[in-house]
């Protein structure tokens, strides 16, 4: 069930705020020198006190990265990235000596989180959401650890996991997204600074939703977080990820990697609300969001479900995917992407069916407004052994205004006669009759659009956990601000 959207008044209040999360926190940071070379990679590894195998892996990735071409098949156009013009390590100074409790956390930082709407102190008392907050690159506070530890769930920054459970990290890191996968993932492998690590042991249903907020703060800091979630046999976890970044004139690079692994009968539900700074009305600034997210359903009857609400970033390049190896495994992708002004998004999924009787479902809702340009790009591949596999894809695009673009590029490859693929896509304008009907009942035009768009997205919004659904609905309204007329 979806939370009822807030009243139009509240929505308007939010839309008046422009980019609400656009503030800069003034705290000292310890940064590595600008630019990228092997020394920087070594610096990061040393800062993290990493074992030599990890440094070797990073260096291999870095050397491979030097040789890799930039992906060129996507639709968005953007200036070439100057990798030497960025900082690759930035840590809040207070993190050098890690806070043992919330009281020790820099009060400036805590204020930042409050503005973001995640007051950590309250979190513990609230609905039971554990938060691993990533400020720029280093995790500063993790709550609920003890409660999770009782059931054996490991939920910690990946840098900590490298120390605590190196064997698990070594076994799974890069096993779903090898560093050779693509240029952005390769860069991440070389320079990732932090991110979350989750391990759900056999038979455990994680007692609460796990949540991480990512935020890019320091100027010219690329953020390269790396998330690894492993769900052992018969386990379940729901993971939430929210992203915002302050307003900056320059473009900032965000190249994250997320790897999920489910073993027999396990399930991971991964939800993202991405609201990185999209740039201003004239297309200046904004995040380049180049993310590689992939899950491997290794076990039989396992399931990975991606839900994303993408409203931010100047350029989005993101294809959360599922490799359905285990027989009867299930992959899902539910997506809402909203672009406005000069945003460009190229997003979708890949469903690679390898095992028998695997099934996948793709529901994608794209809304383009302003002068934005949006592409759904998806691959469904039925391997020769994917007997009785099934895919259903529904891909709908809505256009608001005549300056934007909406594109649908599905790739369907089948090598199995017993596999069934069904794909449907539509593109249309926002319905004038619906808008008039709502306006006749007294609802103003922006709220009317927000309502119709929320309705259009409902199938996907329903997939989100309650607390995210409310935020996502507000975001839908805010993102379309100024798209009328």
């Amino acid at each position: 069930m979806v939370a009822t959207p807030d009243t139009a008044a509240q929505v308007r209040e939010m839309t008046d705020e422009k980019y609400k999360y656009g503030f800069v926190t003034d705290i000292e940071v310890e940064t590595a020198p600008k630019g990228l070379n092997e020394d920087i990679v070594r610096f990061i590894s040393k800062k993290k006190n990493e074992p030599s195998w990890l440094l070797d892996w990073r260096l291999k990735a870095y050397r491979h990265w030097l040789k890799m071409p930039e992906p060129a098949w996507q639709k968005p156009n953007f200036p070439a990235i100057d990798y030497q013009d960025s900082f690759y390590y930035s840590a809040p100074k207070s993190a050098a000596d890690k806070p043992q409790s919330l009281d020790e956390v820099d009060p400036e930082l805590l204020k930042t989180y409050e503005k973001l709407g995640i007051p950590l102190r309250e979190q513990e008392m609230l609905a039971g959401v554990a938060v691993d907050a990533v400020f720029d690159s280093v995790s500063v506070a993790t709550t609920f650890k003890s409660k999770l530890e009782e059931v054996g769930v490991i939920f910690c920054p990946i840098s900590e996991a490298v120390q605590r459970c190196p064997d698990l990290v070594r076994q799974y890191l890069g096993s779903v997204v090898p560093y050779t996968d693509n240029k952005h993932a390769c860069l991440n492998s070389a320079v990732f600074t932090d991110g979350s690590f989750v391990y759900i042991p056999k038979g455990v249903r994680c007692p609460m939703e796990l949540s991480t907020y990512f935020r890019i703060n320091a100027e010219n800091t690329g953020q390269f977080e790396r998330t690894l979630i492993i769900a052992a046999d018969d386990s379940y976890v729901s993971y939430l990820e929210g992203c915002t970044a302050p307003m900056r004139d320059e473009n900032q690079l965000h190249a994250a990697v997320v790897e999920l692994v489910t073993l027999d009968n396990a399930e991971i539900k991964y939800s993202t609300v991405q609201n990185w700074y999209p740039g201003d009305e004239n297309g200046k600034g904004g995040i380049f969001n180049f993310v590689t997210k992939r899950g491997a359903c290794r076990g039989h009857n396992s399931k990975i479900s991606w839900t994303q609400v993408e409203t931010g970033s100047a350029v989005t390049w993101k294809y959360p995917s599922c490799i359905l190896q285990g027989d009867n495994s299930v992959g899902e992708f539910f997506s809402i992407a909203i672009t406005n002004n000069f945003q460009q998004a190229d997003t979708g999924t890949k469903m690679i069916h390898l095992g028998r009787n695997t099934s996948s479902k793709i529901i994608s809702k794209g809304i383009s407004a302003g002068r934005s340009d949006q592409t759904y790009r998806g691959l469904v591949r039925m391997g020769p052994k994917a007997q009785d596999a099934r895919n259903y894809t529904q891909c709908d695009s809505l256009l608001i205004g005549n300056q934007c673009g909406a594109h649908t590029v599905p790739y369907i490859e089948s090598k199995n006669k017993k596999a069934i693929v069904e794909h449907e896509a539509t593109t249309s304008k926002i319905n004038e009759d619906q808008l008039f009907y709502l306006r006749q009942r007294g609802i103003d035009d922006e709220s009317a659009i927000a309502l119709v768009v929320n309705g259009f997205c409902r199938e996907v919004l329903q997939q989100l956990p309650m607390e995210f659904a409310v935020e996502a609905q507000k975001l839908v309204s805010i993102s379309l601000e100024g798209s009328v007329g």
């Binding site: 098949w73 039925m382 020769p384 695009s397 256009l399 608001i400 205004g401 005549n402 934007c404 673009g405 909406a406 594109h407 649908t408 590029v409 599905p410 790739y411 369907i412 490859e413 089948s414 090598k415 199995n416 006669k417 017993k418 596999a419 069934i420 693929v421 069904e422 794909h423 449907e424 896509a425 539509t426 593109t427 249309s428 304008k429 926002i430």
Partner: protein, 454 residues
């Protein structure tokens, strides 16, 4: 520059004097441009997004020499036609790229319609010809059009004059094969429908024998205001043939271009259609079916561009793949900025009959105008097992039941053919294909009625 381009152009200076229009300045410069462009681009490779699923290996592993007049002398005593019972059907016939007047039947062309070979068109009205050739098919970024432009040696040039309406189809028949070694030939067709004209053409490509040959065909079409062209084609090359055909169409105000392409043969075949709807009220129906066996590879790649408001398109492709055959469907609908009120629909469905067959589908929408209705659908799967059981429970043998289901599956695309005689003939063709008889060129005479040598 690519070494494989040399294979095609090395004989150019020797061949050139024999090509239609050699020595004519304007045509000569068009040919030179084509040659330069082909040299610069080389053959398409998998690095090009549009060629991701189709590799031109058959052109890499065989050297083709340009077909000569002697290749046109091979013994053809029967002609493939959709209208075997009707000797009065106007037709123009080419064998290995040479016009065969003795097979052609141009006497009963209706008034207002002219059909010439490339050479004939140069004589009839060179000015008109010069102002239309190369106007729709663009060589930029299209190396195969460039190659054809350099080498074009045959093909039909058709003009249907203003307000001329012809119900009876006109056939353009291309027969290839039985040559001494692998040859390449380059048909270049031009169909110009003047305002208000209405006609139906059938482009027929058939192969004889079993040896490899290469057809690189380009067809340019202009459908002027209020005109209607029904353009149907049958591709039934032999199992070693490489057939690369591209069709370039411009559709004017309130005009209709209706196409259907039936592919049943070829080691490697690719039919490309590029349609630009340039006038309001323009409509395009782009449909096709393919039935592949053995190791055949069939690619249908289409691009429909809506340039102006109030245009519509409908696209239905159906395919059946058996053995180790493979097919590719890439359909793209582009709605340009300001092309409001566009209505575009595309459907691609494929049946896999074998575990080793493969289908790659990429239906694509690219939309820059907001007040539009566009949709596409795609499915892949196997024969409906329940329907199969139903038929068998009524006493129909398995093999027959399967071919009935295949025919019914293809029928959805065939029904898009608005010319009833052609629809009936195509239905017959599908039936003969699905009833499990191989369709090598030489066996055509054994085929069902409606598809026989005369």
């Amino acid at each position: 520059m690519n070494s494989n381009t040399d294979t095609f152009l090395s004989d150019y200076e020797a061949v050139y004097p024999g090509l239609p229009g050699s020595g004519v300045k304007w045509l000569d410069s068009i040919r030179r441009c084509g040659m330069e462009e082909f040299r610069a681009q080389g053959l398409p490779t998998g690095r090009t997004e549009d060629w991701k699923y189709t590799r031109l290996r058959s052109l890499e592993d065989t050297i083709f020499r340009p077909a000569t007049l002697e290749d046109g002398e091979v013994d053809v005593n029967q002609l493939p036609t959709l209208f075997s019972g009707d000797s009065m059907v106007p037709r123009i016939v080419f064998v290995n790229g040479c016009l065969k007047t003795e097979f052609s039947c141009m006497d009963n062309l209706p008034d207002g319609v002219t059909v010439d070979s490339l050479r004939g068109a140069m004589d009839r009205d060179p000015e008109w010809f010069a102002s239309h050739l190369g106007q729709v098919g663009c060589i930029d970024g299209n190396p195969l059009v460039a190659l054809n432009t350099a080498m074009m040696n045959s093909g039909a040039v058709v003009r249907v004059h203003k307000d001329t309406a012809v119900e009876k189809p006109i056939e353009m028949i291309f027969v290839a094969g039985l040559t001494n070694g692998p040859v390449a030939y380059y048909p270049r067709n031009l169909i110009v429908m003047d305002e208000g004209a209405d006609a139906t053409f059938i482009q027929h490509h058939t192969g004889l024998g079993g040896g490899p040959y290469f057809v690189n065909s380009v067809t340019e079409i202009e459908v002027s205001g209020n005109a209607r062209l029904r353009h149907y084609s049958v591709q039934n090359e032999n199992v070693e043939a490489t057939h690369l055909a591209s069709i370039h169409v411009r559709v004017g105000c309130d005009a209709t271009y209706e196409a259907f392409c039936m592919s049943t043969g070829g080691r490697l075949s690719r039919n490309e259609s590029f349609v630009r709807l340039e006038g309001s009220g323009g409509h395009c129906g782009l449909n096709g079916a393919y039935m592949m066996r053995g190791k055949e590879h069939c690619d249908n790649t289409t691009l429909i561009e809506h340039m102006v408001p109030y245009t519509s398109c409908r696209e239905v492709f159906k395919g059946v793949l058996d053995d180790e055959s493979r097919s590719v469907f890439q359909g793209k609908i582009t709605v340009h900025k300001d092309a409001q009120k566009t209505d575009g629909r595309m459907l691609s469905k494929t049946l896999l009959l074998s575990d080793r067959a493969e289908i790659d589908t990429k239906p694509e929408l690219e939309i820059y105008a907001d007040d539009v209705k566009c949709a596409h659908g795609a499915t892949t799967g196997q024969l409906n097992t329940e329907a199969l059981f139903y038929l068998r429970s009524r006493g129909i043998p398995d093999a027959l039941a399967r071919s009935l289901l295949v025919e019914s599956f293809i029928a959805e695309a065939i029904e898009e053919i608005s010319h009833l005689d052609v629809r009936a003939a195509m239905t017959g063709l599908v039936a003969s294909q699905s009833s499990n008889r191989r369709c090598l060129g030489i066996e055509i005479s054994e085929k069902s009625e409606g598809y026989k040598f005369e």
